[in-house]
Symmetry: D2
Subunit: 128 residues, 4 copies
């Protein structure tokens, strides 16, 4: 292996995916293709590109830009992804950014419900 290859590898860095999401995305109603689009989105956002185009997503995937667009729309409809308007108050420039906040909110609700269920089961178990 060339030294430069390893240095490049390190410079590109890693993306962290919460195991809680990896273990539960199907319960949120996501399939593998949608999950991969969201992982790519997460990676783009972390690297400072807050509004990747369908073309940029497609360049890293096996699906076309048009299919990427369709998956993005589905993710927004399912409430996993949101477009936010940003205003630069000084220069008065408007820009759009994607945010995964709706996905994290759905994960919170899922984890909370699970905890309630476990609590109830425990209580029922103790009452018996």
């Amino acid at each position: 292996m060339k030294k430069e290859s390893f240095i490049n590898w390190m410079d590109m860095g890693n993306i962290s995916i919460p195991n809680a999401l990896l273990m539960n995305y199907t319960r949120l109603g996501l399939d593998e293709q949608e999950m991969m689009v969201l992982v790519h989105m997460h990676s783009f956002i972390e690297s400072g590109n807050f509004f990747p185009t369908p073309g940029q997503l497609s360049a890293r995937m096996t699906i076309s830009a048009q299919q990427c667009m369709q998956v993005l729309r589905t993710c927004i409809q399912k409430g996993m992804l949101k477009i936010e308007e940003q205003e630069d108050t000084v220069q008065r420039i408007y820009s759009e950014t994607y945010t995964l906040r709706p996905l994290w909110e759905k994960m919170i609700r899922l984890l909370d419900e699970e905890n309630v269920e476990q609590q109830q089961e425990k209580q029922q178990h103790e009452e018996m």
Copy 2:
């Protein structure tokens, strides 16, 4: 959000995916479904389960155990995944474990080829 939910979230931890892999898996001949199976495999291995069954993989995915089995076979055929035999020399117990080493080796080769190409382009550029 319940405090317990957050604690659970933290306890489950994160899985790190190299951006170099995320940006190049299609060039290695992998599609999104195969990539997701390998991500799940990575997560299982990191958590200490070195030989997840198709059923365990399927439980976290939208595809059936049989389809998981098929994807695993394809990944092995494509040289991204390998089954290794482990021998516990003391107790003389044999066990099988999955390893993603072939995937990392393929990534090395890809990064090395890229570096060679860049070097050549640079050289041609300087000669002109």
Copy 3:
């Protein structure tokens, strides 16, 4: 670089540290040495060693086993680390494990307080 070196590197994996913790550990009353002990603890726990000895910690650090012991005690006293008793109900074996749950709970409280302050500032700003 040898191919084996890279494969070893990948096999060892990564440890994820929340930026929220990295940016706020001093506000929790931790210094760099204590933070590093907790990072090592996190890494040991993730790799399946739930009760690393002071000697094991010291082997990866520049401080002695005795100093590690002292830092562990301080972290427990500061409420960042806890020892939990685990009971294997089948084999009736008791074991002790470290847990970083108190640290995550402290982080929650800090983040919550911050949100309250920001809300109050915003409100005061709007009332003016």
Copy 4:
């Protein structure tokens, strides 16, 4: 826990530290304080700030800006950190950025030497 706290937590993201580095930084001649400065540097660079000032580092640490400056100097002298000059060829603006490449190069050498030693031990073992 407030929902906003969790969302903030997620937005801040994680920093990945290779376990190979965590297990070997002392063998590279680094102590805990230097390691923490490099971890903070890594976090700043990943978030897009390629030249954090000693003051910015100090704001997240228990040591003063002057001490941070001193640690940065030591890390550069030890060959773990480098300052690179970047030139924006279009606007002809020069800027300085920190890079951790020397650290990764030192890690490569360490891993390679280890592999050689293991190979030699294995060979000697087989010859006996």
